[in-house]
Symmetry: C2
Subunit: 135 residues, 2 copies
DNA sequence: CTAGATGCAAACGTTTTGCAAATCT
DNA sequence: AGATTTGCAAAACGTTTGCATCTAG
């Protein structure tokens, strides 16, 4: 099962890198579609999976809505606005002792993590305060 | 918009409490269905949302697959097996300073969190080792 | 030449919605 | 009585799959 290089594949990867704000599969599709209109949505999904598999991209599981993709591979976490669903990076990582503790506590191995914080972004907070007073 | 008490609602809540291992909506439906066969799936979904809203239940967003529900309201985290998808509790919480740091770093407010760890549970690890050798 | 990749449409699993009938207060 | 809730079926949503065709190596 050798892996081939295709225009579609490179476009999917470079789009996630360029767009850079944690696009969803749909957003990647829309973007690639602009410059390569014949691409199919399934191709985008297939390539996103594949690229995650090859660790060229990371999957970001949001609290609501579709999966997002991240081209920043170094360890960090995400913060999602509860209202506009925007996702921003947060520089959080855990020490090895943290993972060791979890292993001991649970018996699980090969621990990975997906820390997703949620909150109100400054803009949405503003809107809430103006729009409808303090509920 | 006063909220009524209904048999269905109490059954949904008590089922999540009794079953206790982070059931999905489907699992709750199946369980309630045993003792109250006329219940509709939409009713289960509606009541789960409603109970989360009232903070009588917590939503657990898994890395793959459907949402799970948790009747343990005190702060803790979850660990999901990458193979069998089982979810177990882990006793992890963050200090206030952690949230303060995030607020300063990002400008977001009202920070909440969903920490979902993934790993290999002891049973699945066993299976992997026996079943196909070291890949 | 041929395994792997594509594009399309249809299938999938989960969740939400519209609506008339039933139920709680 | 009147607003809320129910059960049903259909729709919505994100994602995956089957398949015939195309393409990179």
């Amino acid at each position: 099962m050798e892996r081939r290089q295709t225009v579609q594949r490179s476009l999917v990867l470079s789009t996630v890198i360029d767009v850079c704000n944690h696009p969803t599969a749909q957003a990647v599709y829309d973007e690639v579609n602009k410059i390569y209109p014949s691409i199919g949505k399934a191709t985008v999904y297939r390539n996103l999976c594949l690229l995650v598999d090859e660790v060229k991209l990371k999957k970001v599981v949001a609290i609501e809505g579709p999966v997002h993709y991240d081209s920043t591979l170094s360890t960090h976490s995400h913060l999602e606005c509860r209202i506009c669903k925007k996702i921003v990076d947060v520089d959080i990582s855990f020490k090895d002792e943290f993972y060791d503790g979890v292993k001991v506590e649970t018996g699980f191995s090969e621990i990975d993590r997906n820390l997703i914080l949620s909150g109100l972004c400054p803009q949405c907070k503003e809107t809430v305060l103006n729009g409808e007073g303090v509920k």
